[in-house]
Each structure stands twice: as structure tokens, then as C-alpha cells.
């Protein structure tokens, strides 16, 4: 398809040239100085500035159209492999994220009770001093470990971790255990990479286990999958709900929740027994495959049918079809895999299946198991002293209770629980950045209770989210269109996030905030950069690329280490793909992918499913007016037969109860879900009155979710919550 | 004309005498209206480009757009002149010349028995019937002119009201009001224009009304015309003149009396 819109075109259109720099004196003061200096903006203050989206973790490259110091339109950057010139609904709505009238633009200090939403405006001086004072007090009285640091992974994470490690606390919370852990731990153990990248160029057969790519949009990947289906690739979707991805599938399999592993193990059984795999590949690069037929013997399709409800013939057929298209057949590794405790085994089965059909290669093939570090991009960083030694145990039980969970992932929900139990010690403070645990953690009542127990809570956010509402100090971060962040490496290139407008109010970048706070905590040596641009220059130092040229294009191609083409070697203990994992066995778990029976709801209960919509990102976008105009909260999805049994009609008020809480919402009666399941779109039901659009809109499933943690990967099991539904 | 016989000497005397019929306000307003209509009617028609309505020939649609440099400018011109027209009329009637207008309205606009009778006879006479019948005497304006004035006043009111509604349609929340303003504006213009055609012919071309035509410039009609066509008004004017003469004579007598008295006292 011809892309009329290329980088060269837009430069031509705006006439942005070096001579525009000379006219900088004529520009309005409000125009971002950086872009002006880079010559990206013409004398009228109009132009396109390249940067990176932050409306979700995919971080598409974007081009921000600026006029008179305001962003007026966002476009995907055609040069960026995650965008390929497109932005999804959330990316397109990014203007409202920055210009949301409910933005927090000044530091706020709580007055009145916690959670009362009463704040007074403070200067940065006062706010930062207060935060440092409290954090130092906690460190002195209770030890650094009494301070929790949590942040959802983002580009400034490296400096967040710097603060955490410099301060000396082991308690690092990320959102990973609410999302990725099962996938990451399974693939780390099996392939040696956290997440193999996917190549749809030649794929003929794709199986998605959940992974609602048409709604949990990762722009370029969603685009590639759509293209693959359009050119004839078969798409099989295993999902208890008829999602939009299922609507585009060749075959939708409404599998019983929690039983994906049975289906997949039976597939392994068929392929191994009927010898349909890539024998050559398997013997060279995969260990444990000789034993597979015996190990998987019990997982027959008939057995699987009794577990997952899918006819044995179907399972058998799909296994054969999948193998027949090898190596151009792929089972997607998954994304949010926090469904059941046995999701870990599901992921292990997926990894195994991909391996036995030989589609996992390091440079070619559907799944690319390259170690991200092996992309060869070497960035610099400011000098800093070594971190203090930390001896305290982590509150989340890693690794002392959970030996296989990587430290960088952690178990977020355990931190919250530890605040309540006070075991192994009482946490006193919480530093939260770019994260909304008040709404994202399961069992909201518990989270509110945990917040209540702490001495001090500080939150870095751009808007008065629920977590900020419950904080003691809110530090306003500049939005992604208003700030620099550390460089992003993607596909062997480095990508820049730069401000396209001046930050509004007194909002500041995380780089600035962490440095300011660090200095007040006596950690100035860990933040040896004068400002954001200095930090970036230090990152760029080994590459020979200047910040100015990076600003102009938004990306650069740094010289990379010459990769020695060696025989395929995976980053595992044996150097091969480990279908059988000794590491797992040593830790006392099954070394083979194995079946673990999931819990099932009682007769009058439903599985409470969660998922995504293409117009929102988790808990963060519900205040965005533009997105609210294109998506309306639907209420609880329910099958007509079950609704009829309870006398419930479309839009009726209903009460949904779990063992930890209840919500009142409306019914959305639909054929598009298994009768034994209900579904609620997450992220709604905000408590913060500071979100004037989101407040009071919809209900939150975090009020219902029971906290379950997988002992192997530490992942949450969000669909193991069972609920009753009745008319309200 | 069917009216009472007037002897020759009187006719000649009356023909050479003039009576003031229209004050300056009247005259200016009249010609201001004429100018406004000359600007508004052609441009208004030029705006009506709807093929479905199919009313105005394309040559005129193109010409007006050419003249003003596009539809937008044509419309702006039309409503600007329209608003000005409305403003001036409103000002004249209610503020500027209120003193004139109120008496004007009372004296010249209401229909009486003679008017009704006239309306029954005159149209037939114009078609050549009832030649012998005497027309009832008319006031400053004959019944036909009074009827016309109703059409004009009512029509102008609705033209202006609907014009304002359409110009400021952005602020009108009831879109049905804006939409109905279109045919109402059009119909009111049409009704008044139909009347204007008669008015122009009667005023400018019809031989009997020649004196009236020039009165729209000079303000005066000749007394013979007045006696023949607007007898009741003429009588009133004569009376006024007599009264005036009386007043002047009385003033003179008073003055002379005063002078005599002063003289006598001065001795």
C-alpha cells in the first residue's frame, strides 16, 4: 500500500530547514525550545516534531504536529517499526492526555484525611523537601527496606531503579506480576529470552491463546496479524469470549477458562506421538524432546476434551494442521498471562509447541528468540558509585519464597499483602511513579486498607488518578509530549522521546524529579547529569551520535557490535531450548510442562473474565474525553441463557459478588461469551473525584478480584475469581 | 374619474396651488427603502442556488457570485444591507421620527366606511365597469394605498424578522424556526414585491397620479389633485389653512392693539 506520508514529505511540507533556526528569535516564547533549536519548527511556530507515544507500552514512534506552541495532531512515524505510520485510538487521543483539564500541574500536599482528596498547592522546594524528609526519617527509624518503590515499567525506569538502589531498599514493585510473569518466566526458562519477538511475514497458521491482538492493540503487530489473515493465514483463537480477534479468526474455540494447558498438552501429545514435528531441528536445538511421547502420553485429546470441553477431534485436527504448516506455524507466546495459576504451564506448553515445529530461530522464522541485549546497541550512562549492599529480605518473597521469580519482575500483590500482615517486617512508606496500584491490584478493599496503614505515600503522576487521590504528596510529572526520557532501543536503533511543547504549569520530567529527590536524599552521586539533555548526551557518548541530529529525526542508527554468527545457541543452562527444565525440577516443580487442575466455579457462580478494549489502556485513560466519545462502558457481559434464568434483561441493574467484594453495574447480555463466564472491562469505576470524566463511570473489577499468586512465576490469577450475579 | 364637477376657474386656481403632503422623513425613508430593495432583491434571488428549488436562472446565480466574488461575499452583502435596512427603519419608526409616525399612522392608515366602499367600486371601474358611479371621498391615502401599506408593513416585519433569524441562525436552538424562515422570508418578499409592482406602476406611470409621483421628491401635491383624489384630506388642509390665516390675522390684530395701546400710553 502506498504510503503517501513519509518523513521526507513532512519536512518538505513544513519547510523546516536549518534557516528556520535563525528565525528563532521571532517565535512565540511558548514553543518548545528544543524543537526550535533543532530547526523543526518554522518561523510561524508550525512543524512536526518526532517523539514517542506513551499511551501504552508499545511506545509507537510519533510525529507531533505543532502549531503556535500547541500540539494539534499526532501521526504515527513511518520510520518507527512499532508504529509503521499508524497510531491506534489511544495514540491519536494523546492530545487529551496532555491537555486534560484534570492534569495535576503543581506539586500537591495533602490536607485533611488520606483519600479525602483535599490538597494544597506547594512549591517544588517544599514538596521535595517534605518527601525527602519523610523518606530519610523512615530509613533512619525503620531501615531503607521499610520504603517501597514501585513503578510500571517505562523509559525512565532506569533512573527510578537508580533511586531505589541508591536509597538501599530491596522492595521494588512493578506491574509485571499482574500481567507478564507467567509468560516471561516460562520463556526465560525454556528459550532463555523473556519474550521472543514475532515475525508474521511468512506465517500460515497462528494460534492465539487469549492474546486479543485486535483489542489489546500493539499497533504494528496488530497490523501484521491482520495482513497475514488477509493474505490467507489461518487464525485459531482460544478464548472463552468472542472477542474482536475471534471475530476475525478462521476458527474460534470457546475454551473453558483455565484449561488452555490441557488443549496444548494434548496438541504436544498428538504431534509427538504422530511424529509431526521438525525432527531435525528438535534433536539439534531442543532438549527433552525424545521423551515427549512418553511424558505426554496421558494428555490425550480425549482426556483434554474432558477438561476443556473442546471435542477431541478438533484438538487432534488443529494439532495436525499446525504441524503441517511448519515452520510457518506459530502459537503466540502471549502477553497478559495472569489468568490462572496454571497459566505458567500454559506458557510452557506454548514454548514447547513452537519448539517442536521448529519455528524458533534466532534470525529467521516466526518466533525470534534473540536476547534483546544481543541487538548490539551500547549506550552510555552517567558515572555513579556502587550501590549500598542490601541485606533485608524483600517483602514480596522473592527469591526467598519464590526462587524462580526474577528480581526485576517481583510479585507486586505480595507487597500490598505484606503491608497488611506486617510480615516479614512492617513497611512504612511507598514511593509510586507512573502506576495506579489503587485500581490495578486485585481486591481493592485490601489495597485501600494497605494504603491506610502506611506513614507516608508519595505519587508521581500527571493526573489525579486513584492512587494520587490517596497519596500524601503528589508530584506532577510532565506528560509524554512535554518531556525528555532516557533513550529507547528498538530493532537495533535508538529512539528519542523529546518535548514537543513546553510543559504546562510546573510539571517536570521524571529525570528531573528523581535527580532533585535523589540529591535531597544524599544520593546526588547517583544522578550525575546536569539536566535531561546532559543525561541524553551521556547516553549517546559511545555512539558518536549528537543529540541535535537525534532530535531532528527522532531516531538514529548507532554503530553496533559485530555479531559473530555462531551456531544457534539459546541463553539457557544447556544452551538448548529446554522443554525439560532442570532449573524447575531443582526448585521442586515439574521439569516438564504439566497439567495442574484449575479451580472451577460452583453451580451458581461464573468465571469472572478480564480483558482489554482497543480504546483504553488499563486504568489510565478513562478520563480522556476523546476516548470516552468512542467507547462507552458496557457493564457485565453475560450469556442470554444465564441472564434469563435470573430475570435479567439488557441494561438492568445487577449486583456482582465475589468473596472479597461486590459491585453494582448494568448487564450487557450477549451471545459472545460462554454461559459459565461473565466479563467486565477493567479500568473503570474510578474513586478519584479529581477525574471529572472518569469518576462514577462504570465499575471496577478490582473490587471483586481475589488475590491468587502462582508459586512458580509469581503471576496473578485474575480469572480464578468466581462471582455470583443477581438483579439489583 | 367619477367625481363631482369642478368649474374651470376653480380648477385653474387649484392646479397652480400646492399643498405639502409628505415631510422630509417620509421622503427619505421612502427612497431609502427603494435603494434597499434595489440592493436586496437581486442579491437575495442570487443566493437561492438550490437546484431542487430551481427558481433562479443559472446565469443570474453566476453573475451575482461573479460580482461579489463568491457565495460567501454575496450572502454577507445581502444580510449586511438587510440588517442596515432593518436598523434604519426601526430607528426611524420608533425613535427618530416617532412624532411623525404616530400621527401618520392614525391619520393615514386605518380603513373607514368610505374606504370599504371605494374598494368595492374602484377595481371594477378600472376594468371599465361602473363608469357613472361616484367614488366615495378618500383621505390622505386611498383605500388601495392603505391596503398596500398593510402588505408592506406586515411583509417588511416578517422579512426583517426571518432575515435576522437566518443571519444569526447559529444562536437559534430551534432549527425548525430557521428552516421555516426560508419560505416565510421568500413569501413575504414575494407578497410585498407583487404590491411594489402595482405601487410603481400606479405611482410612476399611471397618468392620474403624476402629481403624487413628484410629491415623492418635492413633498408637495397640487391642490386640484388633492381635491379630486384625496378630498377628505384636502378639506382638512383647507381647514388648517383657514385656521392658520385666522391665527395670523388674530396675531396681527393683537399686535396692532398692543401698538395702539403703547402709543396712547406714550403720549
Amino acid at each position: 500500500m502506498t504510503q503517501l506520508f513519509t518523513r521526507r514529505d513532512f519536512l518538505k511540507i513544513t519547510g523546516a530547514t536549518a534557516t528556520a533556526v535563525a528565525a528563532g528569535g521571532l517565535l512565540p516564547a511558548s514553543v518548545a525550545k528544543a524543537a526550535r533549536d533543532a530547526g523543526l519548527i518554522d518561523p510561524n511556530g508550525d512543524g512536526y516534531i518526532p517523539s514517542l507515544c506513551e499511551m501504552c507500552v508499545w511506545r509507537c514512534g510519533l510525529l507531533a504536529k505543532v502549531r503556535n506552541g500547541r500540539v494539534v495532531k499526532l501521526e504515527g512515524n513511518p520510520d518507527n517499526p512499532h508504529s509503521t505510520g499508524k497510531l491506534c485510538a489511544r495514540g491519536q487521543s494523546g492530545l487529551m492526555n496532555t491537555y486534560d483539564p484534570d492534569r495535576v500541574l503543581y506539586p500537591l500536599i495533602r490536607v485533611g484525611p488520606r483519600g479525602g482528596g483535599q490538597f494544597r498547592r506547594a512549591t517544588w522546594e517544599e514538596a521535595l523537601d517534605l518527601v525527602a524528609q519523610n523518606m530519610l526519617a523512615i530509613k533512619e527509624k525503620h531501615g531503607a527496606e521499610a520504603m517501597i518503590f514501585s513503578s510500571t515499567h517505562n523509559l525512565s525506569q532506569v533512573q527510578f531503579e537508580n533511586l531505589l538502589n541508591g536509597y538501599g531498599s530491596p522492595n521494588y514493585g512493578t506491574q509485571r506480576s499482574l500481567c507478564f510473569n507467567a509468560m516471561v518466566v516460562a520463556f526465560s526458562l525454556t528459550y532463555g529470552v523473556e519474550e521472543p519477538s514475532r515475525d508474521y511475514t511468512n506465517v500460515k497458521y497462528v494460534i492465539l491463546v487469549g492474546r486479543n491482538l485486535m483489542e489489546a492493540i500493539s499497533t504494528s503487530e496488530t497490523r501484521q496479524l491482520t495482513a497475514a489473515v488477509a493474505r490467507g493465514a489461518k487464525l485459531i483463537v482460544l478464548d472463552p469470549r468472542f472477542t474482536k480477534t475471534a471475530a476475525k479468526a478462521t476458527e474460534w474455540i470457546p475454551i473453558r477458562p483455565g484449561t488452555d494447558a490441557a488443549f496444548l498438552l494434548a496438541m504436544i501429545n498428538v504431534i509427538a506421538t504422530e511424529k509431526l514435528g521438525d525432527c531435525d531441528f528438535v534433536s539439534r536445538y531442543v532438549n527433552g524432546c525424545q521423551e515427549l511421547p512418553q511424558v505426554m502420553a496421558e494428555y490425550t485429546p480425549e482426556w483434554a476434551e474432558s477438561k476443556c470441553g473442546v471435542p477431541a477431534d478438533t484438538i487432534r485436527r488443529i494439532a495436525r494442521e499446525f504441524a503441517a504448516d511448519r515452520p510457518d506455524a506459530m502459537i503466540h507466546p502471549g502477553w497478559r498471562t495472569s489468568n490462572f495459576i496454571n497459566s505458567f504451564q500454559t506458557e510452557r506448553a506454548i514454548a514447547t509447541l513452537n519448539a517442536v515445529v521448529g519455528n524458533v530461530l534466532t534470525s529467521n522464522g516466526c518466533l525470534v528468540a534473540l536476547n534483546p541485549e544481543a541487538s548490539g546497541v551500547k549506550l552510555g550512562k552517567p558515572p555513579q558509585p556502587a550501590y549500598p549492599r542490601v541485606t533485608a529480605l524483600r517483602l514480596d518473597g522473592v527469591p526467598w519464597k519464590y526462587p524462580l521469580v526474577p528480581l526485576k519482575l517481583g510479585i507486586f500483590q505480595n507487597i500490598r499483602d505484606a503491608i497488611l500482615t506486617g510480615q516479614p517486617y512492617q513497611a512504612r512508606g511507598w514511593f509510586i511513579a507512573r502506576q495506579n496500584p489503587m485500581l490495578s491490584l486485585p481486591d481493592r478493599r485490601k489495597t485501600a486498607e494497605a494504603f491506610g496503614k502506611l506513614d507516608f505515600i508519595v505519587d508521581v503522576d500527571i493526573i489525579m488518578n486513584d492512587t494520587a487521590w490517596y497519596a500524601d504528596v503528589v508530584l506532577p510529572e510532565a506528560s509524554y509530549l512535554e518531556r525528555y526520557d532516557p533513550l529507547n532501543a528498538l530493532a537495533g536503533k535508538i529512539w528519542l522521546r523529546q518535548p514537543v511543547i513546553e510543559p504546562q504549569g510546573e510539571a517536570k520530567s521524571a529525570l528531573w524529579i528523581y535527580k532533585q529527590l535523589g540529591e535531597r536524599l544524599g544520593l546526588g552521586d547517583y544522578f550525575q547529569y546536569a539536566d535531561e539533555e546532559d543525561y541524553l548526551r551521556q547516553q549517546l557518548a559511545p555512539t558518536g551520535i549528537t543529540l541535535d541530529e537525534l532530535k531532528l529525526r527522532g531516531w538514529a542508527d548507532p554503530p553496533k557490535e559485530e555479531k559473530v554468527e555462531e551456531d544457534l545457541k539459546f541463553n539457557t543452562a544447556s544452551g538448548k531450548i529446554e522443554v525439560y527444565s532442570q532449573t524447575l525440577a531443582n526448585a521442586g516443580f515439574s521439569g516438564w510442562p504439566a497439567w495442574e487442575e484449575p479451580p472451577a466455579p460452583a453451580a451458581d457462580q461464573f468465571y469472572l473474565l478480564t480483558g482489554k478494549v482497543g480504546q483504553h489502556t488499563q486504568m489510565g485513560t478513562q478520563n480522556n474525553k476523546l476516548l470516552n466519545q468512542v467507547f462507552k462502558f458496557q457493564g457485565l457481559w453475560m450469556h442470554p441463557s444465564e441472564a434469563a434464568k435470573r430475570g435479567i434483561n439488557q441494561n438492568d441493574k445487577i449486583r456482582v459478588k465475589s468473596e472479597v467484594g461486590e459491585v453494582v453495574t448494568t448487564a450487557y447480555v450477549t451471545q459472545a461469551i460462554r454461559p459459565d463466564c461473565v466479563y467486565l472491562t477493567p479500568g473503570f469505576g474510578h474513586l478519584s473525584k479529581g477525574l471529572r470524566v472518569a469518576y462514577g463511570n462504570g465499575a471496577s473489577d478490582s473490587d471483586l478480584h481475589v488475590t491468587y499468586t502462582d508459586p512458580i512465576s509469581g503471576g496473578q490469577a485474575l480469572s480464578q475469581t468466581f462471582v455470583t450475579v443477581e438483579k439489583a | 374619474m367619477s367625481h363631482e364637477y369642478i368649474p374651470l376657474s376653480l380648477r385653474k386656481k387649484l392646479f397652480n396651488k400646492e399643498i405639502k403632503k409628505h415631510n422630509l422623513a417620509n421622503i427619505l425613508t421612502h427612497w431609502f427603502n427603494v435603494l434597499s430593495w434595489l440592493l436586496l432583491l437581486p442579491t437575495g434571488l442570487g443566493i437561492l442556488a438550490s437546484p431542487r428549488l430551481g427558481l433562479v436562472p443559472e446565469v443570474w446565480l453566476d453573475a451575482t457570485r461573479q460580482m461579489f466574488g463568491g457565495t460567501a461575499n454575496l450572502i454577507k452583502f445581502h444580510y449586511s444591507v438587510g440588517l442596515l435596512w432593518m436598523f434604519v427603519l426601526t430607528f426611524n419608526i420608533f425613535i427618530g421620527f416617532r412624532k411623525y409616525f404616530v400621527s401618520f399612522a392614525g391619520e393615514r392608515m386605518l380603513l373607514d366606511k368610505d374606504d370599504i366602499e371605494w374598494l368595492k367600486v374602484k377595481p371594477l371601474q378600472m376594468m371599465g365597469l361602473l363608469k357613472g358611479k361616484t367614488l366615495p371621498p378618500q383621505d390622505a391615502y386611498n383605500a388601495g394605498q392603505k391596503a398596500y401599506s398593510y402588505v408592506v408593513i406586515l411583509g417588511t416585519f416578517f422579512i426583517g424578522l426571518t432575515g435576522v433569524i437566518m443571519t444569526f441562525s447559529k444562536y437559534i436552538p430551534w432549527k425548525w424556526l430557521v428552516q421555516w424562515s426560508l419560505p416565510v422570508h421568500f413569501s413575504a418578499v414575494g407578497a410585498v414585491f407583487a404590491g411594489v409592482i402595482i405601487h410603481i406602476y400606479m405611482g410612476a406611470a399611471f397618468p392620474e397620479e403624476r402629481s403624487a409621483f413628484f410629491s415623492m421628491f418635492t413633498g408637495k401635491v397640487n391642490a386640484l389633485y388633492a381635491r379630486l383624489h384625496h378630498y377628505k384630506w384636502y378639506q382638512r388642509k383647507l381647514q388648517e389653512e383657514d385656521d392658520w390665516e385666522e391665527r395670523v390675522l388674530a396675531e396681527g390684530r393683537e399686535l396692532r392693539t398692543k401698538e395702539h395701546a403703547a402709543e396712547a400710553a406714550g403720549d
Binding site: L87, C88, Q671 | L55
Partner: protein
């Protein structure tokens, strides 16, 4: 109506590729400053069809059809709405629009709205401000599934022509009763559903009154008046002037 335009800009929508992500809706809204409760484009969800587990769901992107014979142009009071002779797009000259709103019900596809801020009629303009700069319309540029394409249907090498050539099926939202010559082509999916098919153009009662009652009445009245006076004038000329009149 003018159908002989130099270019014939139109859309081709690959129905099989639309995933209802609604990026196009947001992109259009921002690009064209569309007011809050209105939209220039839609993704019509035909709903979940069938019974569990044999289900189907189709998403149909939808906007102004830039018709060959647009009823909106036909009814526009001031001629503000017109079909661009250069490229066939239906445009609204905002300054020439008087906000009468007669065009809204006239559109068989209901794609027009009155902008509450300006009082004028508005709709998809084919992002002509972008197309003139060599860019794609905002919805097409950002379409994640590559369902939307735009281009010159008269040009055999354009995206749209190529898409039509390779299509497995081609439909337009038109019926035997209502065919205004829409220039959005739907490929690789069935969109001929009652909820999407166009309705007859409809007209405000004020317009019908205007056309059927007021115009004939005024024409008749003015005509009669003119005729009447013309007769008298002719008679006057025939009778000749009298030198001694009153």
C-alpha cells in the same frame, strides 16, 4: 449533477480487515476539530450474529459517500455545498452555508451534522486539507488494519483501483430504490444490511412548503401583478397622453 470530474476521489474499505479499533474516529475528530457530541465518520458494528458458539461479527467503516448525484447539493439553499469539479469530493463552503440544515435529512446516509459552535453544516470533507499536501486522509493514514484506502478511482494505478481489482467481492451501499452513486466501495465482506442501506432523501416540511406552495404562489402572485399592470400600461399607451389632465 456533475459526474465528469477530473479526479474521482473515493474510499475502498476492506471489510475483512476492520477490527473496530476506532483509531480512525479519534484521528478524524482531532484533525477536523469535530465538536464533542458529533462525528464525521463511523465504524458500524453489525452486532454479534448467530448463536453461541457459531458467531460472526462484522465492522463496517462508514462516512460521507461523496456521491455522484448528491441530494445534499441538490437541496442546499445557497449552493454552499458543492461537488468539487476537480476531484468529486462533496465540500461545504463554511462561509456560504447559512445553517438552515435542510441538507441533513436529505442525505440518505445521515452523515451530516450542524456544528453547534459555528451553526454551519459539516461532514467528512475527504481531509482535502491533507490530500492537497500529499497526505492521506486522517482516518486512512492511521487505520491499523489497513482497512481504509483512499484515492482517485479514475486512476488505474491508485491504491483504490488496485484494491478493487484484487477484491474478492465488491459492494456499494445502494439499492434499486436509492442509488445516489456512492463513492465508497466495500470489498471482501457483506455490508448489504438493512441497518446500513441508505434511506430515501427526506426533506423538512419547511422545504416542501417552500417548493410546493410558496414558490408557485409567489410566482403566480408576482406574475399576475405584473401582468395586470402591463395591461393597464399598454392601455395607457394606446389611449395616448392627454395634455390637459387634472
Amino acid at each position: 449533477m456533475a459526474t465528469n470530474t477530473k479526479k474521482r476521489y473515493g474510499f475502498v474499505i476492506d471489510v475483512s480487515r476492520c477490527i473496530d479499533c476506532r483509531a480512525c474516529l479519534v484521528s478524524c475528530k482531532v484533525e477536523n476539530s469535530v465538536p464533542e457530541d458529533h462525528t464525521r465518520i463511523w465504524v458500524r458494528d453489525l452486532g454479534v450474529e448467530g448463536e453461541f458458539p457459531n458467531l460472526k461479527q462484522t465492522f463496517v467503516p462508514y462516512n460521507c459517500m461523496h456521491c455522484e448525484e448528491p441530494p445534499c447539493v441538490d437541496v442546499c439553499t445557497s449552493g454552499a455545498t458543492y461537488k468539487d469539479p476537480e476531484n468529486g469530493l462533496i465540500q461545504i463552503d463554511q462561509e456560504a452555508c447559512i445553517g438552515c440544515g435542510l441538507c441533513l435529512p436529505a442525505c440518505p446516509y445521515n452523515v451530516r451534522y450542524l456544528n453547534p459552535e459555528t451553526g454551519k453544516a459539516d461532514k467528512c470533507n475527504g481531509c482535502i486539507q491533507r490530500v492537497e499536501q500529499g497526505l492521506q486522509p486522517a482516518c486512512v493514514q492511521t487505520c491499523v488494519g489497513d482497512a481504509r484506502t483512499f484515492g482517485d478511482l479514475n486512476d488505474l494505478n491508485s491504491d483504490v483501483s488496485i484494491a478493487l481489482k484484487n477484491a474478492k467481492s465488491v459492494q456499494r451501499l445502494a439499492t434499486d430504490d436509492v442509488d445516489t452513486g456512492p463513492n465508497i466501495y466495500y470489498i471482501n465482506g457483506d455490508v448489504m444490511q438493512a441497518s446500513l442501506l441508505p434511506r430515501e432523501p427526506s426533506y423538512a416540511s419547511a422545504e416542501t412548503f417552500w417548493r410546493k406552495v410558496a414558490v408557485p404562489a409567489v410566482v403566480a402572485g408576482v406574475g399576475l401583478s405584473f401582468l395586470g399592470q402591463a395591461v393597464f400600461f399598454a392601455k395607457q399607451l394606446v389611449d395616448g397622453e392627454k395634455d390637459f389632465e387634472e
